[in-house]
Symmetry: C4
């Protein structure tokens, strides 16, 4: 029995999110973004196995929490769809997930240094990012979250945070909307770049927890300003090609 | 009673300033530039709540020093228009203000290191940038200058300087013309990048105060060369779209 | 007697590889990519002396392991075709070679620091890159591999590795396909940038050998995703101009 | 009596050099390139006071070693034409001069660290760059070389080197042709970036003097490959606009 299709607006927004993440330098050929189905909370939307910059409407597939496609598709899935599945399962508050190898974040992941909020734009980092060590869950692996088991371990490391750094791999951020998850992926990268430079200059005064919370709440109201710019930067976009 | 409108040339120049600041990497979706009204010294021009790259003629609004719009508008204002209002109030010599989160400056702001002039192009930094700690004025906040009270505190930190670094936030520069404020925003960022690299190499020999002053005076005469280039880089610009 | 021509598809792929390497910032005016002839294992294809971004179909020449052209050409060859010749001679498993001066790798080459795999994308670095010191083989030189003798010394340093850093010069990577060699040239550069930043932050936890091997094997299956993106980024390409 | 005009090819080449230096990130609104007149060795060609990216055929002016225009012009000259005049006077071997504020070089200039050749492409740096301290010649100034007196002091610091770093200002390179001077301006910047990163990684093994000399000689023969690429990158160029 076919599932309820997601709203066309949601599909379009996910295609835009993919293109924005590439344009903003957060993903290259790899990385992926997903969003929870708007009427089926146990289903999420994710592209088939394509570079985010090339994702089109027809590439968007619906998956269940086992990582199985529940809409028609003959395309290969991303090996790491379990990142998304297990986070949606563990975190009912999460509506969107972005996984990337954005370059400034990885040095923190591989030295076990948390990201901490350097400025108001990254208040969502709160008192710091979470850390995931895949060896603890899976021993020696190819570093990918290619099973429900590893996805569950990742979701456990993420816990209540907005961002988890993955040693030898990259990072994953979550949001209460697709716009928010994209925003967080972009500003986790910006924050990492700033934090790296700041740590070289001296002792860094980070936002404290209350500042971080107040900033994060405030930014949510300002998000359309950035989102509109990111869309505009894409120029004319054909979502079908 | 409606106020005297600003000259159309001034409005156009402010639109250009917004677009230049984006093109030069000083602002992203956030940040703003203002200019004092050319016939009403207690009024300034600032865009409504839009990303600088997308500001058009019709987005420019006139505000008084209380931060209230004094020209017709139905758009949301920037939350931080008080940065501009209070600096214009405190500093009659200031004709233009740029507030940004330009990336190389922030590491200095969060480690309480002043920017100092590395080369003649940043002579305007004189004997160093000012520093603003919002906690001293407002305790724990969302880091924004969202009231006259906080704006006044910021203006007090700025004092007679050309540039104030704002911990956990960004920076603000002022100028005696819009061109000069844009120039200073751009070269504060350039200087920060150079200073960061130089501090890693050894002891830095900065311009002394007299060199800084002489350089700054000299640069004012060379400004059109850079301004013309910045405009040219924008290509064909439609100020109404 | 003329040799068997290579397949037109292979020639086209090599032209694309050259353009991709420029577009991805791995080569500037210098650097070169080659591929083994698809029916003559003792012959390889390499452009004549041109900037990679400007290589066209008609610039592709066939060379033997002595570095002599075995297809018709009246153009100057690259001085360093012996890099390619001697690696193909020493390593029957190698199907493609990329030599570049990609910028993040050189600091490692001149400080005798090996590249080590920071994340799964660079699993091919295994337990570290090889190092080549031209003075040991040739005394004081112009640093170029301009003879079979020097090429052989380089191949000896490369040994069974995928990547060799060349002091005072650049680096060379090899692959079992042209796609793989291009991928490795790109991600050796990415890894170097990440490793440089990570070493500044603290002790780096690299992939261990097994993780590196598993990652490398996995990536080979994901390569088309990146290759398609790299091609797409080039826009409309005329392989004849 | 009017002077012999320079060859039109030389004028065109100087316009291209200006545009290339901007496209390659060596100059912004400031900086300038000159070339010695092809039939009058005591005359050199330099643009009037314009951003290099905007220089056109009609902006090229002939100057004598006193810094006075000897071809017709009604435009303002660069304040610093004395850099060029005095170097041409002191160094009969020099055919072209580039002065810039290229960003990676300045940290070396302000910490009194010489540039040294990290790789063969910068063999022209020989045993290191020269250093110029304007205070020694002129006391406190606006840092500009705005007189024959200061130009002469700069030329004295340059002595027989190819590159002089200017504290609090930028750098100047010379060449035996315009192509060579442009090449050196570009690779002085590249070398500085590499040297900065390498010094952070450990002890750097620079080219020794003989390696530097041999590399430099070799590169001269490879220069057209890079020059052709730099021209191509400019796309369609109208030298009159």
């Amino acid at each position: 029995m076919p599932i309820n299709p997601p709203s066309p607006e949601l599909v379009d927004k996910l295609v835009y999110a993919n293109r924005i993440l590439y344009d903003q330098g957060i993903v290259d050929g790899l990385g992926h973004a997903s969003v929870r189905h708007d009427s089926l909370p146990h289903v999420f939307l994710l592209s088939c196995n394509r570079a985010p910059a090339m994702v089109r409407r027809r590439d968007i597939v619906c998956y269940d929490f086992a990582g199985d496609a529940v809409s028609e598709t003959s395309e290969r899935p991303y090996l790491e769809r379990f990142i998304h599945a297990e986070i949606y399962r563990a975190r009912p508050d999460v509506v969107a997930v972005v996984h990337s190898h954005s370059p400034s974040v990885i040095p923190f992941a591989v030295t076990h240094n948390p990201l901490r909020p350097v400025f108001h734009m990254s208040g969502f980092l709160g008192s710091g990012s979470a850390h995931f060590e895949i060896r603890e869950a899976g021993g020696n692996t190819d570093m990918l979250i290619r099973s429900s088991y590893l996805g569950e371990a990742l979701a456990r490391s993420l816990a209540g945070h907005t961002c988890v750094l993955m040693r030898g791999h990259g990072s994953t951020v979550v949001g209460a909307s697709l716009e928010q998850a994209v925003y967080r992926a972009i500003y986790a990268e910006v924050n990492a770049k700033l934090q790296l430079a700041a740590q070289g200059l001296g002792e860094v005064m980070y936002l404290n927890e209350q500042e971080a919370q107040l900033s994060s709440d405030m930014n949510d109201g300002q998000m359309p300003r950035s989102w509109n710019l990111w869309i505009k930067r894409l120029g004319e976009v054909d979502l079908d090609h």
